[in-house]
């Protein structure tokens, strides 16, 4: 890829030719200058490092087991087969269940959708309250929350088990949604608080003078203006929740196990040899949703990060 970049005449050269003047001073920089070669060369090497694992996953997932035993993980498949994909999706066994990832996929959807929506809703309202409707002590709670973001999850598992048990929702989908909401709260609240604080305060004042209350301002003024940060939050939560393993396995029962648990089961239920091709296919299938989310909305993500997150 880098070659095509480097060979492309850059804007400077093209421009000079177009103008048709032969400048008497030093010649303009060429597109193939040392700087550009360095620049795109470094980027290409870095890109290679980042792409390699994906390449290995894809290639391996399309090989048969005999080919894998031959050794070279980087060589493209001699014989492309989608058998591993089929197996990973629909046939791989964990214990008695031999329906692969498919079941986990729908569980993941069932977990991710409400968890994402609810956690974002709760966090955005909190962030909004913190940014615009400060009350005494609000900052104290917020500080606790932020410090909480650093607490290793393991520390919290046991207390949460107890709390959920007392609430009688342990093992239910509701319980899991609450857990995701809780652990998403610090970073999301911070994100939303920063974003809402960066919106002009006068807008909020104008709405108050117009007589709008807490919720009216939130839904009718703030929400429609907050697309970038909602996109960031969505991406973070979708990938975070979809990729979650620990909570999925600790706080639910098997019929709700998300795809990652299924993935872990498939990968760890070794039957004889490790079926690397099936594992890779399963891995790709599991990662597909967050990957697609990133590929589709990565640009918005960066913009949103710039809009709300970095300002600390």
């Amino acid at each position: 890829m880098s070659d095509t970049v480097a060979l492309n005449p850059g804007p400077a050269l093209a421009a000079a030719t177009r103008a048709g003047v032969e400048p008497r001073g030093a010649k303009p920089r060429r597109a193939l200058s040392g700087r550009n070669i360095m620049l795109y060369g470094t980027l290409a090497v870095a890109a290679l490092y980042y792409l390699l694992p994906l390449y290995v996953m894809v290639v391996t997932s399309m090989k048969g087991m005999p080919e894998i035993r031959l050794g070279n993980i980087f060589s493209p498949p001699l014989e492309v087969t989608f058998e591993p994909w089929v197996k990973a999706w629909a046939q791989a066994c964990t214990g008695l269940n031999c329906d692969g990832l498919s079941r986990g996929f729908w569980n993941s959807v069932r977990i991710t959708v409400p968890s994402t929506l609810i956690s974002i809703l709760v966090a955005s309202v909190n962030g909004y309250a913190l940014a615009n409707w400060k009350f005494k002590g609000a900052d104290l709670f917020f500080t606790i929350l932020i410090v909480g973001a650093f607490i290793p999850y393991q520390v919290m598992i046991y207390p949460i088990v107890i709390v959920l048990r007392e609430m009688g929702i342990y093992g239910t989908l509701t319980g899991l949604v609450i857990v995701h909401t809780i652990f998403g709260m610090p970073i999301l609240t911070l994100l939303f608080r920063n974003y809402f604080s960066s919106l002009p305060e006068e807008l909020f004042k104008a709405a108050r003078i117009d007589g709008a209350g807490f919720w009216q301002i939130y839904f009718r003024i703030m929400l429609p203006m907050s697309l970038p940060i909602f996109v960031v939050a969505m991406i973070l939560q979708i990938t975070g929740i979809w990729n979650d393993f620990l909570f999925g396995v600790v706080f639910t029962r098997p019929e709700y196990y998300p795809m990652t648990v299924q993935l872990n089961n498939i990968v760890n239920s070794v039957q004889g040899v490790k079926e690397y091709n099936v594992n890779m296919a399963a891995t790709l299938l599991t990662g597909a949703v967050p990957l697609i989310v990133y590929f589709v909305s990565g640009r918005l993500f960066v913009r949103g990060i710039a809009a709300g997150a970095v300002k600390g």
Partner: protein
């Protein structure tokens, strides 16, 4: 009903910082009051208190003789216009105007009537279907005014409504606001740090410094009889020239003396007797100095032109005079090359004299 807005002993502090302290202010019915002061002096804070957007630490606020200190903004009968326009970006102009009315559950026909009226007054009829991002700065500000207009309020609050506009638009909208006030006759409280706006718009100007009102008077008094050096220096561009010196007696009359030069004080009406030896500051506005190229006149002071700033209509001269730098305004057509020697005469009836210690007007 005497006053439209009355503020009694208003205090407000952010944590340990006292922004306003025991501030009192009465604003008459239909009056156009301008709050003028440099950045950070508490103008917006005061305005936000009146609007109900900030809760005062102490004191009370009355609007139309009703104590509104603890009322919600919407119940105070006020409308507010902000520097940044604060239009709801995702709504059309029409929606921006009607939002508050809808929230108040006003019947639809009434809403439409009001929007029509506001659109007419502000000439924004053709813009109603547009979004704020499709408007120019001036149009946006007009819509922002419209939002206060439709709410049919007693008091308009403006917080530097024109600061974000360029000079040309600013002067245009200034005129429009003035016209609006003349036709609506509402009470208007207008915050700015632009003295031109203050001078041109206000019935009365309140000049603030660090949360304290320094002088509250009509523009003419403020300009010509500033109460203290702060007010004197703050108003007028370029600033009043201050000459530090003292009173000496000459021929039985008090005379202002500085750096070996005397200024007769004939024509100056002092509020206190001018005792000899008193350290004082003489303030002279650039346009109250006459510049003569010839040496006529008894009280002709020698000066040389340092810098000339032609501004089209006027020409601003920076002179060296008796060791002081002094700015003087002459007509645009009169040009002086730097270095030119000139003679000055002063109109003492329009000058100001301050005590050097208290900085208060004498």
């Amino acid at each position: 009903m005497q006053n439209s807005v009355s503020i009694r002993d208003l205090s407000l502090s952010f944590g340990a910082v006292n922004v306003l302290e025991n501030l009192n202010l009465d604003i008459g019915n239909g009056e156009f009051l301008v709050l003028l002061g440099s950045s950070g002096c508490g103008k917006s804070t005061l305005l936000n208190c009146i609007a109900g957007l900030l809760e005062p630490t102490g004191g009370q606020i009355f609007i139309k003789d009703k104590n509104v200190t603890w009322e919600e903004p919407k119940d105070r009968g006020i409308g507010m216009v902000f520097q940044s326009y604060a239009l709801y970006p995702q709504m059309t102009v029409e929606k921006n105007l009607s939002f508050g009315l809808q929230v108040a559950k006003m019947p639809k026909p009434e809403i439409e009537k009001r929007i029509q009226r506001a659109a007419e007054i502000l000439q924004i009829g053709p813009l109603l279907k547009r979004k704020p991002s499709e408007l120019s700065g001036g149009q946006r500000q007009r819509v922002a005014i419209g939002r206060a207009l439709v709410r049919d309020v007693d008091v308009f609050l403006f917080d530097e409504p024109l600061s974000n506009l360029d000079a040309k638009l600013r002067s245009e909208l200034r005129v429009e606001i003035k016209r609006l006030h003349q036709s609506l006759k509402n009470t208007m409280i207008y915050v700015t740090h632009d003295q031109i706006e203050a001078l041109t718009l206000a019935d009365r100007i309140a000049i603030m410094k660090s949360g304290v009102i320094q002088q509250l008077a009509d523009p003419n008094t403020i300009y010509n009889a500033p109460k203290n050096m702060f007010v004197a220096g703050f108003i007028g561009s370029p600033s009043m020239t201050f000459l530090r010196g003292e009173i000496v007696e000459k021929d039985g009359k008090p005379v202002f003396h500085t750096n070996g030069v005397d200024f007769s004080l004939d024509g100056y009406s002092a509020a206190e007797p001018l005792q000899a030896g008193r350290k004082v500051v003489l303030g002279v506005r650039p346009e109250h100095v006459k510049v003569n190229e010839d040496s006529a006149g008894a009280e002709a002071h020698q000066a040389t032109v340092d810098i000339e700033e032609p501004m089209g209509a006027d020409n601003l001269l920076w002179l060296k005079h008796a060791g002081h730098s002094m700015s003087v305004r002459v007509a645009g057509a009169r040009r002086f090359a730097p270095g030119t020697a000139v003679r000055l005469s002063f109109d003492m009836g329009l000058a100001s004299l301050f005590d050097a210690g208290t900085e208060e007007r004498i």
